[in-house]
């Protein structure tokens, strides 16, 4: 298997222009994600997981290091990658259908092909009867289904997800995890998924990348050997419970140290 996307010695420091303070968000981070892998980035706040994801999408420049997509150095956002946002980032003045069509419209995809693809992905995320609704008529979970369908509609090789379920309640989040797993099982797209929820990381991932803060570094990489396809039974698997507890132990150590330092 070949790497789908690689981050090579990425460093990034934020400078606050007002206070003059510097935040060392990422320090020499290396990450290789293989084709068909589902990788979760997890860590306490401030560990640079979202920064790393945005650098991999080309939304943020890194101070040093390179990102390679299919072995080629990447210079900005590209059609082989698509992003799902924590804030959903839906256009409130457009219907679900038009929001899902957004990426295709930017690419000037032929109209009937766009219509077909949009309908397909709206059905896939379970929003068939809401296709002509506006985002603010939908619940948070449904809004993020729109965000997911919009990313899938451009048929990317790599799906980048930035805490997509972070603002949803626990029940909705469980439902969406199962749905995402079902969608992922269909074609095993390469996924990089940022989360702060331990159970979510274990449920979805093939590998979990645990990051530590200040400076943001990769702390440990965990292979998740739970059988697929995963479903709600997976959550009661002893191995699931064990891995979740293991990650919590690790994160708790970091958080306690941070609290002490503060």
């Amino acid at each position: 298997m070949n790497p789908a996307i690689e981050a090579v010695s990425i460093s990034k420091t934020y400078h606050d222009l007002v206070s003059g303070r510097e935040t060392h968000a990422l320090d020499d981070v290396n990450l290789t994600v293989m084709h068909g892998e589902f990788v979760c980035l997890i860590g306490p706040s401030g560990c640079g997981k979202t920064t790393l994801l945005k650098i991999m999408d080309g939304l943020l420049p890194s101070d040093s290091g390179t990102v390679r997509v299919e072995g080629k150095t990447m210079v900005g956002p590209g059609p082989e990658r698509a992003m799902v946002f924590q804030s959903f980032a839906l256009m409130p003045w457009r219907t679900v259908r038009d929001n899902v069509a957004f990426g295709l419209r930017l690419r000037k995809t032929d109209k009937s092909a766009t219509r077909e693809a949009v309908q397909h992905y709206i059905d896939l995320v379970g929003l068939r009867s809401f296709a002509d609704s506006y985002p603010d008529q939908l619940s948070g979970g449904m809004q993020q289904r729109v965000g997911l369908a919009r990313a899938l509609a451009v048929n990317p090789d790599i799906l980048l997800m930035d805490e997509p379920f972070g603002s949803l309640d626990a029940q909705t989040r469980n439902l969406l995890q199962v749905d995402l797993e079902r969608i992922w099982e269909a074609d095993h797209k390469t996924c990089v998924f940022v989360t702060h929820a331990m159970d979510e990381a274990v449920f979805l991932s093939s590998r979990i990348v645990v990051m530590s803060p200040r400076p943001g570094r990769i702390h440990e990489i965990i292979n998740v050997d739970l059988p697929r396809p995963r479903n709600d039974q997976t959550r009661t698997d002893p191995r699931f419970v064990e891995l979740t507890a293991y990650i919590w132990d690790m994160l708790r150590g970091m958080i306690v140290r941070e609290e002490d330092a503060a």
């Binding site: 939304l59 956002p77 059609p79 698509a82 992003m83 946002f85 804030s87 980032a89 506006y134 451009v154």
Partner: protein, 263 residues
């Protein structure tokens, strides 16, 4: 705020909206009757009744030169207002989108708002004379500010996560403008457009009254000097009608463009 236009055409003439229209017409009738009652047609310079006003209006329209003067006035108004829209919207958007430019230019625009128009009329006269150019400039100056400042507010209200999203999906500069920035700024731009229109109409009359004796403004002062209150009211009524029609047209345009917009 943007008007919500749902696609439900069947409910357009619902019972509620018919009731509203009926009550509006009733109010209009009551106002006209009241006007007729308080009017005094025995003395020419007294407040004219509704009937005298409408008689004057008919006379001015068919025997006088109301229409050509209205046209003359509107040439300056439309030109000045059109310029104000083009310059105001583009500079307002630029101020909102380029923060440095915005913070440099904003104090100057705000200073202009406090400036009484009547005070700079001599200045405009000195530079542009008393021809059509001077009137265009007056209309432009009074309308431009409101268009620019509202467009700036619109451009600044753009949600950064939507720009980031569009950037991630590979939007070009033009696509960013077309799909993300303009739709979000549009309600504010339209608010500025309406405010600017109202100012442009009053600027037009102002210029004609105090700068050059042409158009509807000069007709107004002519009849005022002859103490013909009926004609003065008829001309004022014409300007009210023009304002209503133009603002209605602006609203119609806004609804067409924002069809389906839920703000």
């Amino acid at each position: 705020m943007a008007v919500v236009e749902s696609g439900r055409r069947s409910t357009r003439w619902s019972r509620e909206s018919l009731t509203v229209i009926g009550l509006r017409l009733g109010l209009l009738a009551a106002l006209l009757i009241g006007w007729q009652l308080i009017g005094n047609d025995e003395v020419r310079l007294r407040m004219p009744s509704a009937v005298r006003t409408f008689q004057s209006l008919v006379k001015l329209t068919f025997d006088g030169d109301l229409l050509p003067r209205l046209y003359q006035s509107n040439v300056a108004m439309v030109t000045g207002y059109g310029l104000a829209l083009v310059v105001g919207i583009s500079s307002g958007l630029a101020m909102g989108l380029v923060p440095l430019f915005g913070s440099i230019a904003r104090p100057y625009l705000l200073a202009l708002i406090a400036l009484p128009m009547i005070g700079i009329l001599p200045l405009i006269q000195a530079v542009f004379g008393i021809g059509v150019a001077a009137r265009v400039v007056v209309v432009f100056v009074v309308a431009f500010l409101y268009v620019a400042l509202n467009s700036e507010v619109g451009a600044r209200s753009i949600r950064p996560e939507l720009r980031e999203m569009a950037h991630s999906f590979g939007a070009s500069r033009w696509q960013m403008m077309r799909y993300i920035i303009l739709p979000q700024a549009f309600p504010s731009i339209m608010a500025g457009t309406r405010l600017g229109l109202q100012r442009a109409i009053s600027g037009m009359v102002l210029a004609e009254l105090f700068l050059s004796g042409v158009g509807i403004g000069s007709l107004l002062s002519f009849h005022r000097n002859r103490l013909d209150a009926g004609a003065v009211f008829a001309i004022a009524l014409t300007m009210v009608l023009e304002g209503v029609i133009l603002l209605g047209a602006a609203r119609w345009l806004e609804r067409r463009v924002t069809r389906g917009y839920v703000a």
